[in-house]
């Protein structure tokens, strides 16, 4: 376990102390912070480690939300529904990955973008199962009071974040992580020395999608109502990328810091400039890419052993 990974776990551990310091608002913010961190960490497996510009996060987030929503409506308990969602997203992504990950660069980016569109339209049109454009109401899990409910979902999301972080750490220190780094640097060469690139990329894609799907499922159970344009919002694909770029591509600690910082900025902007919030987000993205292309973690490269990696 490297020092950076330890720092990551300590940071996540600190977040768990939140319920003792804040009220319902802090809990809500904390839940979203954990969710964003899960999305960013998961994206980082494909986008940071393997260097594939995936815009499919929203597709699996929405898929997970609807899978859990439908399962909960059928009366399944939450834990079982989330586990099933995680498995289903993982399998779906591995299968799609075998096909889609043959594409590179722009073509992969466009294919993953259109995956979001296809899934959204499918959900929109499968009115019997998903409610279509009317959205899906999800039954309340318990009746134990608002604050207890909020605390429960905060810890559920936090637990999922911890699991995601452990997954990312395991990947980065395993043969899989090494293989992904090889693919990022030179895929043709990696394939020449006998690396099964398609398999490695598909596993990475699957792992990334599984946790995103589970996060989508928890989100659905938490907010009790989802509709296609909400959970298949393309911003769910872009935000993790911005967080990762903000924190430092390829570094799990940087990515999580980026997610928290992004949420802070987003809250400030939402609260003060609701009319122009997406414009401000755009300005932020442009400034970030032009002025700080390697992220926060590149500000003090000497302090951390792992240097930020190029895209």
């Amino acid at each position: 376990m490297t020092r950076v990974n330890l720092a990551l776990l300590v940071l996540i551990g600190c977040v768990a102390a939140l319920p003792w310091f804040g009220g319902a608002y802090a809990l809500r913010l904390g839940t979203i912070a954990c969710m964003y961190a899960i999305l960013a960490l998961s994206w980082n497996v494909v986008g940071g480690f393997a260097g594939y510009p995936s815009f499919a996060t929203a597709a699996f987030f929405g898929f997970g939300a609807y899978a859990t929503g439908v399962l909960l409506s059928d009366g399944l308990p939450l834990s079982l529904a989330i586990a099933a969602t995680l498995t289903a997203s993982l399998l779906l992504a591995v299968l799609l990955g075998v096909v889609l990950l043959r594409l590179r660069g722009h073509y992969f980016a466009i294919a993953s973008l259109s995956l979001v569109e296809v899934l959204r339209e499918l959900v929109n049109n499968a009115t019997d199962l998903t409610g279509g454009g009317m959205g899906l109401n999800i039954p309340l899990a318990s009746g134990s009071g608002i604050l207890a409910d909020a605390t429960f979902f905060f810890f559920a999301m936090w637990g999922l974040l911890l699991a995601t972080a452990l997954m990312v750490i395991a990947v980065s220190s395993s043969k899989l992580g090494f293989g992904l780094a090889c693919i990022r640097q030179n895929e043709t060469a990696a394939s020449m020395v006998g690396l099964n690139c398609t398999l490695y990329k598909s596993i990475a894609f699957g792992l990334s999608a599984g946790f995103v799907g589970a996060a989508g499922g928890l989100y659905a159970a938490w907010v009790h109502y989802i509709d296609p344009s909400d959970v298949f919002d393309i911003l769910y694909s872009v935000k993790p990328i911005v967080m990762a770029l903000m924190g430092g591509l390829g570094s799990p600690l940087g990515v999580v810091c980026g997610a928290f910082l992004y949420l802070g900025l987003e809250e400030v902007v939402w609260r003060n400039y609701i009319q122009i919030h997406s414009g401000v987000l755009g300005v932020l993205i442009v400034m970030l890419l032009l002025l700080l292309p390697h992220g926060l973690i590149s500000l003090r490269p000497g302090m951390l052993r792992r240097k930020p990696k190029h895209v």
Binding site: P53, L100, H106, Y107, I110, V118, G279, G282, L290, V311
Partner: protein, 288 residues
């Protein structure tokens, strides 16, 4: 007769789709940048046409003459000042940058024009022509003819003019173009300006037919994606082929299995094409 009507509709719509996609294809081909602002440029062009007609009663076909230089300058400056700084960066960076720029432009349009749907309705309305049982509104015919004319104009510029040949040279081989004395930076900016001008003009034409709202920009962008991939990057004829194919698939698809599934069908086709034939129907390396 239904078959004939579907085919004619596809032909009319297909030329418009080609016009939407052609600037996008030019920028993607020459600069190797997926220009996500394209959809918002189109909507902005539509607002320009709407504004000119509402305030000065200038009909949209004259608005083209205003839109083209205006958008060219806008695109040129945008490329020179911002995009040029990251032009050599990986896909992720350029894509995210244009996404950020799109957020800014789209939010600005929502702020100034509101998200309401508006419609440019000509007075008096132009009616429609019918041949046997096939009916086509005249304004649609004008838009289609203008779209074809714009497409042809780009073809001529790339084929005949010095600057067009330079654009093609940069697309074919950047380094060789530099050695031949082409100023690549300004060619990039000019190509982006052309892309923006074509998007603005496409928007003016769209205003004749479709309702205008900032929220429609992602639809236009999606069409541009699909057309580029279907037809293949790198040629004007590819964009035309892609546009016609997309319009045909959508038309036939919505007649057979219902309009709700048309979008799903076109994106599914996109993914199939990406995997099976990434160079598209008529794709090749050069741009004309």
């Amino acid at each position: 007769m239904l078959v004939a009507q579907v085919l004619v509709n596809a032909l009319v719509l297909g030329c418009l789709y080609a016009c939407i996609a052609i600037g996008f294809s030019l920028v993607w081909g020459v600069l190797n940048v997926i220009n996500l602002i394209h959809g918002s440029f189109i909507v902005l062009g539509a607002y320009l046409a709407w504004g000119l007609y509402q305030s000065l009663a200038i009909p949209p076909w004259y608005a083209l003459l205003v839109a083209a230089p205006l958008f060219f300058v806008f695109g040129y400056l945008l490329q020179r000042s911002l995009l040029n700084r990251v032009i050599a960066a990986p896909v992720l960076v350029t894509l995210t940058l244009t996404f950020g720029l799109d957020l800014i432009l789209n939010n600005a349009m929502i702020y100034f024009f509101k998200a309401d749907y508006r419609k440019l309705s000509l007075h008096p309305s132009m009616g429609s022509v019918s041949l046997f049982d096939v009916v086509v509104p005249v304004d649609r015919l004008i838009a289609t003819a203008s779209a074809l004319a714009l497409t042809g104009l780009l073809y001529l510029v790339l084929r005949r003019l010095r600057v067009g040949r330079a654009i093609v040279a940069v697309r074919l081989d950047r380094d060789a173009a530099v050695l031949m004395g082409v100023d690549v930076k300004s060619i990039y900016a000019i190509a982006f300006g052309f892309g923006a001008a074509l998007a603005g003009c496409a928007g003016v034409l769209m205003a004749l037919i479709f309702p205008i709202s900032p929220l429609t920009s992602s639809t236009y962008l999606g069409k541009a994606f699909v057309v580029c991939v279907l037809g293949g990057l790198g040629s004007v004829s590819g964009a035309l082929a892609g546009g016609l194919l997309l319009a045909l698939v959508e038309g036939v698809g919505s007649t057979l299995i219902g309009p709700a599934h048309a979008t799903t069908l076109s994106f599914a086709l996109l993914i199939v094409f990406l995997i099976a034939r990434p160079q598209g129907l008529l794709g090749r390396k050069g741009f004309e």
